[in-house]
Amino acid sequence: MPEEQVPQQQAPGQPMPGQAPQQQMSEEQIQALQEKIKQMSPEELKEFQKKQCIFCQIIAGKVQSRKVYEDENVIAILDVNPANPGHVLIMPKEHYSIMPQMPDSEIGHIFVVAKALSNASLRALEVQGSNIVVANGVAAGQRAQHFMMHLIPRKEKDGVGFHVPQKTTPEKELQKIRKMLSESLGSKAEETTAKVAPIPLIPKRKVVEAEFKEQKPKKKEIVKKEIKPKAEKKKESGINLDDIAGVLGAK
């Protein structure tokens, strides 16, 4: 996920929340800088990061941006390279590189802001849904050194091609991972697989198919046997996703 794509049309004087400042430096300059960074105390390093961070500049008001929300701890601006109109970057005013560095209270608050902004965009922009995306690490698509959350308004066929594939992980590996993670969390949660063969947890596509009827999901190659009775039940009664779609402003 690109937090930031290279702006193709950058009006002069406009902010570039999508992109770290790019300065051309010579080899020697880079080396000198690296030396300097090595010798910095953590506090100095943080100050340095802040100075280098375009988002910190935006937050300080030194770089122009289109703010849609601001409070003591959080700021939300329009992404200049949006996936969709109304694509918002929500970030803490404090400089954190990744989410695990943030204190719980700030994480909670930033997601409450995301919820409110999602709500606002559903109504104000007449969209039918939203994605909240956070990337921790380059492999996850993180480009900026300032932690941020993307809120992307969604409509049918808007061309945003997110793809989260479904893979099959062997049962043994699942058990191993489950144990590791729950121990690491200090959790006593148990596996409730009993002695039954593993039943796919979230037969996503199937459920969708049953409930959304006309609105065909893109992928549907998922387990049919085990969940069939349930899925059929859903056709007759239960939550009607059309109504939920109604909440989201869909037809």
Binding site: G86, K115, A124, E156, H163, V164, M180, G238, V247, L248
Partner: protein, 184 residues
């Protein structure tokens, strides 16, 4: 309605232990588990035990706890699974890719070239379009009641419809309530 919801919602079935699952965390209001068909090994879900279809319906205090757990799991994944990154991903509504009518936070461990795409092509908007969107969102957010910590419902009361007073389209709570009441 409460009964029906729990019978037909797969996530509620998992919460009720009627469907086997790989739980990694559980408390009174929150459950976290492994997705057996995850995008990568270690793909986790964090879910509220109460049945809320979309994020707008999740009370703030529950949301705070859900994401706090999500963050801890994200850290645990980093520490234990030797991955290169994690995504926190929420799909809200059908066009966003939501496939089950229960709010779910995805935590996806990431490696280079793992076949997951959360990238997009930027759309080019004119300055005017940007200004319009900015204005609309600013106005929109002003109408939303923020910062008020709502009372957390007990799981038993999960699917009960909020008691809606006369509905005004401008009022947030009523708007949601209005939509909820249409759910059988």
């Amino acid at each position: 309605m409460a009964e029906k919801t729990r019978e037909t919602c797969l996530i509620c079935q998992i919460v009720a232990n009627k469907v086997p699952s790989y739980k990694i965390y559980e408390d009174d209001l929150i459950l976290a588990l492994l997705d057996v068909n995850g995008a990568n090994p270690g793909h986790c879900f964090v879910i509220p035990k109460n049945h809320y279809p979309i994020i707008e319906q999740v009370p703030d205090q529950e949301l705070v706890n859900l994401f706090s757990i999500a963050n801890k799991i994200s850290s645990a994944i980093f520490e234990n699974l030797k991955v290169q990154g994690t995504n926190i991903f929420v799909a809200n509504g059908i066009p966003a890719g939501q496939t089950v009518a229960h709010f779910v936070i995805n935590i996806i461990p990431r490696m280079e070239n793992d076949g997951i795409n959360l990238q997009w092509k930027p759309k080019q908007l004119t300055e005017e379009e940007m200004s319009t969107v900015e204005l609309k969102l600013k106005e929109g957010i002003q109408n939303i009641n923020m910062g008020k910590v709502e009372e957390i419902k007990k799981p038993e009361a999960a699917a009960e419809t909020p008691k809606a007073s006369p509905i005004s389209d401008d009022d947030e709570e009523d708007y949601i309530a209005k939509q909820l009441r249409r759910i059988p």
